[in-house]
């Protein structure tokens, strides 16, 4: 006998129905399905009695990470699933015949059941034009789902046309050759009984041609260090694949089509959309519903459908419910996700199409060792319950608990949310609060996390590692800190080399400053995380200091408001030179030289000049501050310059005492207008001093003027500022009058 080929579109209920009918009618010896051949010996696992949707999750544990992670999703109406269950029920020998997911043929593909023909767009575009359909999905609905009886011939024609002259790419060719070997072997071994082959329609024409002649031995199954496990899946995830990974959209709708038929599915869709909109307090009147119903029926007749198809219902709803202009075309007329700011009716329609059905695995389903290990660890550490957990990081036992929680966090396992705790290496917080909420999705997420490593530590390290190549400079610093929080020491080499490379090419002083402050904090203080004096961190500190110094010397601009982030970078440099001298390749004298040059550079922005002066001062230079202050005394630069100085050398300013007197003189000499210009920046500058130090400054001012009185009363006015302002206005009027009358 020869094989009966059924080319299907993955996740199509019409195709699933055809598959079921064909297998029941032919009662074949073999049912061959496009699916990972390496799980053939574990097909029973699939049939334990799960609640669909579920997926086979495959990953490569090997060194070269060919296929990375990929999913083979099944839902109730998947033709592959129906082939598997019906095949078993009729007593056929069921086999998956495609290459394993980690095979190079699948490189870059995360959804095995994506629409292969999407990658060969030209034909589909032509067909859409011919049938005047918006896109492939509408075309498919029109040709098959809306009229699912006797589709076998139409399907074959459709896919013949699609494949037509298209040559498959290298990956698809390898897969087709492998599948053809299975088909030939099955046909040979079936004797005079039939064999049914269920594959993606795009492959079917090629498979047919390849199975005419060739060897008939069962092909060997490629093995590698990769592994496959079942995971619970959800309709939302099924719908979330985009671009070349995407398959049939709208899983909830097609689920209804599969269980209740077209007519009921259309009603259900309307009901679900209206229900969702009303829950969101969007008005939907009965008149609107009547209009929607009339329009859907009219559209179905115009397009020649017996029952309203998916887009008939949606088009009717959008016409009836939306009475203003849309900001984007309805998402079912284009492929791709909804953009932000979409009309609420569109949002709810898309949500109703996806649905929120979530799969559930049978308890006896085997899981990777990581899952049970983690669950056991959570139980031992009493982290498996619901509630708030407060951890003191200086206590070693609680530190262990914190590490486990952080490892779960970086793996994105749901239900572990940190509410407070240290946010960077420079953050002197030593306790954490976590909110724990146990949920069903944990197990699925853990199975998928197993792709990164066999133990929790390894997996968390792997997940962080994965983030490195695309990370920006601040993100790398965050990864470094995450690694410290997770207690992972093995990976920091790679992060730091990448970080050092990014730093050398970085041009944003503020971002570099944040990185330096964070890393310096880890290097100096983190005995808690065990990172203090880490030589690798030292390298990063060295590179960053050099880069910041190089960049700030080149910053030129006129007077501009003080840039707090930039000044923080200077503060970080100051701390690095003061406290991490041992790891720096640049000498303190050189840093002082750079500071001196910037401070004296008339082209540099005032805050930077002030900051540079402060840097030199803090590093032991004895600058002529008085002269510098007088040089910057213009009202539009003084405050910004002082911001720089105070940010970097607050303590020096306080101890010298000299500066305050000079400032008092300068400010006193300003006219009122000049003072008003200088005031905002001055306020900002003095904000660098805490209240106690401000009182010291006030004392200095009083002493400088030889005036008696309490410094504290200067800082705390008991009079309403409005009264003061009115009094000043009155004074001014009196002055004006005196001048006018020649009495002044």
């Amino acid at each position: 006998m020869t094989a009966t080929f059924i080319g299907v579109r993955h996740h199509s209920p019409a195709c699933a129905r055809l598959v079921a009918e064909t297998i029941e009618r032919l009662k074949p010896a073999y049912v061959l399905i496009e699916g990972p051949a390496d799980v053939n010996d574990r097909l029973d696992e699939l049939l334990l009695g799960h609640e669909l949707p579920i997926a086979i999750f495959s990953y490569d544990g090997g060194a070269d990470h060919f296929g990375t992670a990929s999913w083979t999703p099944f839902c109730d109406y998947s033709p592959e699933w129906v082939a598997l269950t019906t095949g078993r029920a009729t007593g056929a020998d069921v086999r998956f015949i495609d290459l394993p997911a980690w095979h190079p043929a699948f490189a870059g593909r995360s959804n095995r059941y994506a629409d292969a023909e999407l990658r060969y767009a030209e034909v589909t575009e032509r067909l859409c034009r011919e049938f005047a359909a918006d896109n492939v999905d509408t075309l498919w609905d029109h040709l098959f789902e809306a009229d699912p009886d006797d589709i076998a011939d139409r399907l074959a024609q459709y896919f013949d046309l699609l494949r037509g002259s298209e040559a498959a790419d290298e990956g698809d060719t390898a897969r087709e050759e492998y599948m053809a070997r299975w088909v030939r072997a099955a046909v040979h071994h079936a004797g005079d009984r039939p064999a049914v082959v269920v594959t993606g329609g795009f492959h079917m024409p090629a498979l047919k041609a390849m199975t005419v002649t060739g060897d008939t031995d069962w092909p060997e199954i490629p093995r590698s260090s990769g592994a496959s496990y079942l995971v619970p899946y959800s309709h939302q995830r099924l719908d979330a694949f985009t671009g070349y990974q995407s398959g049939m959209p709208s899983p909830e709708y097609y689920h209804q089509v599969w269980t209740d038929g077209l007519a009921k599915a259309a009603d259900g869709l309307v009901e679900s959309v209206v229900d969702r909109l009303r829950r969101r307090k969007q008005p939907v009147s009965t008149a609107d519903l009547i209009a929607a119903r009339t329009l859907s029926a009219g559209l179905a007749r115009l397009r020649g459908h017996v029952h309203p198809a998916r887009t008939d219902v949606l088009d009717g709803l959008v016409s009836a419910l939306v009475s203003e202009d849309l900001t984007q075309p309805p998402p079912w007329t284009r492929r791709g996700p909804l953009l932000p700011g979409a009309h609420p009716a569109l949002v709810e329609m898309v949500a109703a199409l996806s649905g929120d059905r979530v799969g559930r695995l049978h308890p006896a389903t085997p899981a990777p060792p990581l899952v049970s290990a983690v669950l056991q660890e959570l139980q031992e550490l009493r982290l498996d319950r619901e509630g708030l957990v407060h951890l003191d990081l200086t206590d070693p036992a609680e530190m262990t608990r914190s590490r486990v929680l952080h490892r779960l966090r970086v793996l994105h396992i749901p239900g572990f949310v940190r509410q407070s705790g240290p946010s960077s290496g420079a953050d002197p917080v030593l306790d954490e609060r976590w909110q724990l909420t146990p949920c069903d999705e944990r197990v699925g997420a853990l199975i998928e996390a197993a792709a990164f490593g066999a133990t929790l530590g390894e997996a968390a390290g792997g997940a962080l590692q994965r983030r490195i190549p695309d990370a920006s400079m601040p993100a790398l610093a965050a990864i470094l800190f995450d690694a410290a929080l997770c207690g992972i020491s093995t990976m920091s080499d790679e992060v730091t080399t990448t970080l050092a490379r990014r730093v050398r090419g970085g041009s944003d002083v503020a971002a570099l400053g944040a990185v330096l402050a964070g890393v310096l904090g880890l290097w100096r203080h983190d005995r808690v995380f065990g990172t203090a004096r880490d030589p690798v961190l030292g390298t990063v500190i060295d590179v960053t200091v050099t880069r910041i110094l190089w960049l700030v010397e080149g910053l030129h601009s006129g007077p501009a408001p003080a840039d707090t982030e930039r000044l923080r970078a200077l503060v970080a440099v100051r701390d690095a030179v003061l406290h991490a001298d041992s790891v720096l390749s640049v000498e303190r004298g050189d840093v002082r030289g750079v500071a001196r040059r910037i401070a004296g550079d008339p082209e540099a922005p005032p805050d930077l000049r002030g900051g540079a002066l402060g840097l030199g001062w803090a590093l032991g230079e004895l600058p002529d501050v008085e002269r510098a202050v007088r040089g910057m005394a213009a009202p539009d630069t003084l405050g910004d310059w002082l911001s720089g100085l105070f940010a970097v050398a607050r303590e020096e300013v306080l101890t010298s005492g000299h500066v305050v007197g000079v400032l008092d003189e300068l400010v006193h000499a300003m006219t009122e207008d000049e003072f008003l210009v200088a005031l905002p920046a001055l306020r900002l500058a003095f904000a660098y001093f805490p209240p106690l130090e401000r009182e010291t400054i006030a004392e200095r001012v009083l002493a400088h003027r030889g005036a008696p009185g309490s410094a504290r009363s200067l800082l705390r006015t008991t009079v309403d500022p409005l009264v003061v302002a009115e009094a000043m206005a009155l004074d001014r009027r009196v002055d004006e009058l005196l001048v006018r009358e020649g009495l002044a």
Binding site: A133, D134, A291, L295, L299, L302, D325, Q328, P329, T333
Partner: protein
């Protein structure tokens, strides 16, 4: 009909008279009451049918056309909204031509539109001489549309004063116009089957938000979007500009590579791809008119097809219509983006950047 060739722009029913005739001849589908053809045939007329040699006249989503046609077959009016230049008026003209066989029952909305221009007015000489009668009545498009059972087009409805817009309310819900001056059966004109309204409104002028909820409820809204696909837009611009140039007596079709540069520039400036988005509307219709102007300049000034330098000169007039910032954005685009594109024409466009005024 013999002097149709001298018309500047014949209406759709004359331009496509042959296609309409053929579609009506082999139309076997059920026709809604008062319609000149079935929904299927009307759809074919607009989205095209290569098998029957019917040209594609509207390049937007076919589903939009479906929804528009079905809406007209129900008791709600059709409101086409969208940015200026997205072929809303063309679509409404095509639909009216297909459904009623006539697209000229048109009200042009504007600040000065009055109820007279919508419903009816009087021939005052006759009115004074004979008193109110059907002879002295001058029907406006809405009255004619109702009496004859045809589609009435209302262009730019949101530019009318709100009270004028609201005069449509009773027309659309009661489907009757009362003429109190006439007595007897002439005093009430009931809408015949086939009557409906297609209104258009653009989102730039004064959006549809100010429309009264009561009137909104009597329309189904359809948003017409700019053409999403580059190749489609390019061929449309090429085809339309070619037609216009031929009509203007230009002997050469536009150069495709120059058009490519033109259309790509329009799309970039419309979406703000990699540069700022212009506040002026960079619609396909604008692109066609720029392409037309480029062709005219090239042919009548130098006897050739037109160069990127002409594009720059014409763009200045289009893009910087009422906004100095747009001119700056255009200059930035020509300086920074055009220079990075490969191809002779892009370089020529970049070289011609100094032709921008100011």
């Amino acid at each position: 009909m013999s002097d149709n060739t001298s018309l500047q722009r014949p209406p759709a029913e004359i331009r496509f008279a042959d296609e309409l005739k053929r579609l009506r001849a082999d139309d076997s589908g059920p026709r809604p009451p008062g319609w000149a053809m079935s929904l299927q045939a009307a759809r074919r007329f607009i989205v095209g049918d290569p098998a029957r040699d019917i040209s594609r006249k509207f390049v937007g989503d076919p589903s939009l056309v479906d929804r528009a046609l079905v809406t007209l077959a129900t008791s709600r009016g059709l409101m086409l909204v969208g940015e200026p230049g997205t072929a809303k008026s063309l679509l409404s003209e095509l639909i009216a031509a297909a459904v009623s066989g006539e697209s000229t029952l048109t009200i042009q909305g504007g600040a000065a539109t009055t109820e007279d221009q919508i419903k009816y007015s009087w021939n005052y000489a006759l009115l004074v001489a004979e008193g109110p009668s059907t002879r002295s009545l001058v029907p406006a498009p809405m009255l004619r549309g109702m009496a004859e059972g045809r589609i009435v087009r209302f262009e730019e409805i949101t530019r009318c004063p709100l009270e004028v817009q609201d005069s449509l309310l009773s027309l659309l819900s009661e489907r009757v116009v009362a003429i109190p001056e006439l007595t007897g059966p002439d005093g009430m004109v009931f809408a015949k089957a086939g009557f409906n309204v297609i209104a258009t409104a653009n989102t730039r002028d004064r959006g549809v938000n100010e429309m009264s909820a009561a009137l909104k409820r009597r329309f189904n809204f359809e948003t017409v979007f700019p053409i999403p696909d580059f190749q489609t837009e390019l061929s449309l611009v090429e085809q339309e500009a070619g037609k216009l140039l031929a009509q203007s007596g230009v002997g050469l079709p536009p150069r495709r590579d120059v058009l490519e540069v033109l259309v790509r520039t329009f799309r970039d400036l419309r979406d703000g791809n990699g540069s700022d988005r212009l506040s002026t509307v960079m619609s396909t219709a604008e692109a066609v008119s720029v392409a037309h102007a480029v062709g005219l300049r090239g042919w009548f000034l130098r006897g050739e097809e037109g160069t990127p330098a002409d594009v720059v000169e014409c763009l200045a007039g289009t893009a910087a219509k009422d906004n100095a910032d747009d001119l700056a954005r255009l200059r930035r685009y020509l300086e920074q983006h055009a220079s990075r594109r490969k191809g002779e024409q892009w370089q020529a466009l970049h070289q011609a950047r100094h032709l921008l005024p100011g």
